[in-house]
Symmetry: C2
Subunit: 210 residues, 2 copies
Amino acid sequence: MLKLYQFHPSGNCYKVRLLLHQLGIPFEVVELDLKAGAARGADFKAKNPIGRVPTLELSPGTFLAESNAILWYFAEGTPFIPTDKLERARMLQWMFFEQYSHEPYIAVARAWISFFGVPAGKERELEERTQKGYAALDVMEGELKQRPFFAGERYSLADIALYAYTHVADEGRFELSRYPAIRAWFTRVQAQPGHLTITAPSGTWREPSR
Amino acid sequence: MLKLYQFHPSGNCYKVRLLLHQLGIPFEVVELDLKAGAARGADFKAKNPIGRVPTLELSPGTFLAESNAILWYFAEGTPFIPTDKLERARMLQWMFFEQYSHEPYIAVARAWISFFGVPAGKERELEERTQKGYAALDVMEGELKQRPFFAGERYSLADIALYAYTHVADEGRFELSRYPAIRAWFTRVQAQPGHLTITAPSGTWREPSR
């Protein structure tokens, strides 16, 4: 069975659980103690030299890393990837935006504030990350005023990638009340068949509803 | 004709020029003055709300952003994307690694040191970025000891994405002499048909050699 090495509260790990649930693909979970540095040790780096979760063991000894690459792997040939060439590239555009312009600010602020504590001397850096996080939310709000989902008319991997940390951005002290288009999109994402919350325990995986 | 909005020394822009050259696709260039904030103005943000180069105008009024998504768009159906499903996902894994764990450190250090100057008060941040840049190079070195290219046996978009800033990392004061596997890979990348250097003027675009 597929084995997901993860840290449950991580949005990057949640992306993978959400998609696998929506696709009806069973998997088991190995929970890592990131506070104790579990992803940085030699044991884990033999699985994923980048030293990050999520890491998926596809078959014994075969690993795939980077949340958005894992999403792509499982979504190929499914409705989660648009069939139109430009929409497909647009989906990837937003997935790269998520990793470059969104996650380093919103996810890191959330991780520091809600899980690991703000590292000593990083208070000013937190302010900068907060500012850049708001810039990312502004870009998202502008897009979602024009179309229902990031790749166009349909829910795709780009929505999974961006939903993961955006919907819990309040845990990084981002005020989402000022973003009505983003909040309306949350409702559309949550209405997708087989939706799973970030807190749903991995151990309760069942046949999804679709 | 395709119109590439770019800043010539940017590795992210170079990726696009290199692939289009290797594919024999003609394009014209609009050079932006990033020092003067050209990518941050309302005019440019109407083209790409993320406010970054490269941005490609596919047809009048239709824009695509994020270097690695642009690469994907043009490479679909060509040998630059592996036909094997796992190799394709592995290629994307390294492209996301590049944007998350490599570019923010190696490209930013290079930009500060060689183009824009280190911002006031960012000296310690530069040290941190240098450290994380070396961590990315260490991961690359480890991979390249095992296989000739990042997706496996063949040159792919992952090599274009990672070559762009790695081969000029010395401009960010990274010492590449300690990375023999990376330097051997440079030679393999440079030997690909239609290779183009980062400094080759855009105005001299010609029919590529393949």
